[in-house]
């Protein structure tokens, strides 16, 4: 049966989080791309991700995250501060101290919000050490990028059927390994990437 409960279609294990009939498996994994979009009001898919996060909270299901998610959030905040200060040349100013104060403020705010989010949902935080061998196997078997492989391996470690992500790279895994929940605009791209 498809996660929407209807007739099976050529979904290739990829479903849209905007679909209200979408069944939420328990547990469900969250990728950094989804959390970034949910936390930052100025992101284009903020409303979609915020709504889906509310659905997760209301349903009482457990979420799975990798330990690297918080590190990636911190990196996001740092990069935002640099980009706000230096524009498109931000990468060349990483060691410039002038962006560190706003970076620290934004980083603390972002992590605090992430922690508040987790206080409202039952949670499996999966350490990197519990995922390393499966992540390596995903990389060599399917060509998935390293950080994506760690998030996917974290989902598997906690027996999550699906991961919520805005990153089409997760579709490099077969549908039998991990279902992808993404936004509507990425459905076709994800389905095209599925190996089988």
């Amino acid at each position: 049966m498809s996660p929407t409960g209807g007739r099976p279609t050529a979904t290739r294990g990829v479903f849209a989080i905007e679909e209200q009939a979408l069944v939420l498996p328990d547990p469900i994994a969250l990728d950094t791309s989804f959390v970034v979009e949910a936390l930052l009001s100025t992101q284009p898919l903020h409303a979609v991700c915020d709504d889906f996060l509310t659905r997760i909270g209301d349903s009482g299901i457990t979420v799975v995250t990798s330990d690297i998610l918080a590190v990636e959030l911190a990196e996001t905040a740092f990069a935002i501060a640099l980009k706000e200060r230096w524009g498109r040349h931000w990468r060349g100013h990483r060691t410039d101290g002038r962006a560190r104060r706003p970076a620290t403020h934004l980083l603390n705010d972002t992590i605090s919000r992430y922690e508040t989010l987790l206080l409202s949902i039952d949670h499996f935080p999966v350490p990197l050490a519990d995922t390393a061998s499966v992540a390596r196997n995903f990389m060599t078997s399917y060509g998935i990028a390293s950080y994506d492989a760690v998030h996917a391996a974290s989902a598997i470690a906690a027996d999550a059927e699906a991961i919520v992500t805005l990153d089409t790279g997760f579709a490099l895994l077969p549908a039998s390994v991990l279902t992808v929940y993404t936004d509507r605009s990425r459905l076709a791209s994800c389905r095209k990437k599925r190996p089988y």
């Binding site: 909270g57 935002i80 919000r113 992430y114 999966v126 906690a158 027996d159």
Partner: protein, 58 residues
């Protein structure tokens, strides 16, 4: 952990290990949960658009 099931999906961690990892929510009522999620997701505005390459190497 690395042993694959017949569908190619690796085995999850043991129930004992998962029980160790589990962190229950602090906020338990629907109202508390919604309020906490709202605090987490409302009002954080930045002047640039965040793209994947800002937190993860391709």
């Amino acid at each position: 952990m690395t042993k694959a099931q017949t569908n190619g999906r690796p085995q999850p961690l043991s129930p004992e290990r998962l029980a160790e990892l589990r962190v229950p929510a602090v906020y338990r009522t629907p109202e508390e949960k919604r309020a906490a999620l709202k605090r987490a997701t409302e009002g954080l505005r930045v002047k640039v658009r965040v793209t994947r390459d800002m937190y993860r190497p391709r």
